[in-house]
Amino acid sequence: MSVIRAENLTLVYGKGTAFEKTALSDVSFEIESGDFVGLIGHTGSGKSTLIQLLNGLLKPSSGTVYLNDKDIWENPKKIREVRFKVGMVFQYPEYQLFEDTVYKDIAFGPKNMELFEEEIDKRVRQAAEFVGLRRDHLYKSPFDLSGGEKRRAAIAGVIAMDPDVLILDEPTAGLDPLGRDALLSQIRDYHNVRKNTVILVSHSMEDIARIADKILVMNHGKKIMFDKTEKVFSKGTELEEIGLRIPQITKIMLMLKQRGVDVNTNILTVEQAFNEIVNYLGT
């Protein structure tokens, strides 16, 4: 069953003024429950607009977003419930921290959901664990944490709402390589445990290749591709035409093939490439 279905989404900013700009035009897709979708596209391709439409922060100029087969704008007064179900982690989410302890900040979302005290407590602790925050971090001021820890605390604040769909906009931007790998595998683990849907916006093709099952490619406010990760990255030339890269390792395999080495090019990670080359040399 599809958890999110977008039909002919169009969004025009500043309609009727000199600054009129079509940010998104006629985008339709369906995301199955339990999918891990990577969203890629150039700066200004409409990614941010798209994800804000999915959780009702923006209202489409035309078209409809269905969440569990229900139009999210059916009752504008209940849009908050949509936002609880479609959790959104913005870029640099650490700048949204405001409470005096990390615990209270993570509890902000669940509290807005008007849950019971025990349930909130449970969720806060679980969310903190998912993102790898230590227990003693919970009672510190969020402003005393390091950059990476702040980021984790902010992500925990969204995970604690236990959304059906979790959207992350560039969650690893500005983190060091180690922190990046750790955060990505925590997101992957979270996805595996909760079996919910995750949409990850990223500029790093390597990250996307490693973690996403499907990829949605955007360019100039239009959907270009939406397919399995291997299929999308097998269309390297098309991606390069719109200014996107494919993962370096995939590119290497493609170049090997071009030079007459008969290897499989559906390769997304270094391990896969290693195995493939060993196989090739063995035969």
Partner: protein, 271 residues
């Protein structure tokens, strides 16, 4: 949303008004405002209003944007206008109990409305056609004589430049933080006044924190580039009076003389 505020927004262009020196624009604006209030009868008011409208149209900016900036103060204009109808002396035109409308009252109302409207429109000309940096530059040059009294004109102008420069940044930031908190279910659109004020805390605290961070970063960046205040500083863009400024000045002088002559030879409408 917050971005819809037009009051005081620079709109690039290449009209005559755009290419005037910021200093002449600031000084002429003050003069226009003074003369809007000096005008004492309908003819002189007509002259100064017509001149203002001429200036407005020669900016080549769509009138729609001026109207938008008017919208903000529409209530004030209407309120003072209507209130003035009931205060005034002279011939009584209509009376109901203690409420009476007099000829003087109507004149008052018309004058107040036109004056405030023109005032806002002509002020918009300055902010629409002058980039914030030119504006503060011009102000700094105009206020320079005050350094005699140990007033730190350059520092004040620099603060203004920085403040203006960061308005859009902060607006965008507010927007972002509001969205982030809304995504966590913060409810900012319903409830009574107190609930709404309380709902702003999750927005205001991050905004304060990031403003301090930005201020700190900016101060460091400025020091790294050896900024040490006003003395001995040269400018990349030097303000220069041109023939256009002379033309604008002459035009305005003619208008002002016209207003004064009308005031002298035609009896005042207002008492």
């Amino acid at each position: 949303m917050v971005r819809d505020v037009t009051l005081g927004q620079f709109m690039p262009g290449n009209s005559i008004i755009h290419s005037l020196d910021a200093r002449s624009k600031i000084l002429l604006l003050i003069a226009y405002i003074v003369f809007i209030f000096i005008a004492k009868n309908y003819l002189s008011l007509l002259i100064i209003t017509a001149a203002s409208l001429l200036v407005i149209f020669s900016t080549k900016i769509k009138f729609k944007f001026y109207l938008k900036s008017m919208k903000v103060i529409l209530f004030v204009v209407l309120f003072t206008g209507i209130l003035n109808i009931f205060y005034g002396s002279g011939e009584v035109l209509w009376q109901l109990g203690f409420v009476k409308i007099t000829e003087g009252g109507i004149n008052n109302a018309i004058f107040v409305t036109i004056r405030i409207a023109t005032l806002v429109l002509i002020s918009s000309v300055l902010t629409f056609t002058t980039s914030p940096s030119d504006l503060t530059d011009g102000l700094e040059r105009i206020l320079k004589p005050l350094t005699v009294f140990h007033i730190k004109v350059h520092e004040i102008a620099m603060m203004m430049t920085i403040a203006l420069r960061f308005i859009p940044v902060l607006l965008e930031e507010t927007d972002k933080i509001m969205n982030a908190q809304k995504a966590r279910g913060a409810d900012m659109e319903s409830g009574n006044v107190f609930q709404r004020i309380k709902a702003l805390i999750p927005v205001l605290i991050p905004l304060f924190v990031s403003s301090f961070r930005r201020a700190n970063d900016l101060a460091t960046a400025m020091e790294c580039r050896c900024y040490h205040g006003g003395s001995g500083r040269t400018r990349m863009k030097v303000l220069r009076f041109s023939i256009l400024d002379l033309f604008a000045l002459t035009f305005s002088l003619i208008i002002f003389v016209g207003v004064i002559l009308c005031n002298i030879y035609i009896p005042a409408t207002l008492r």
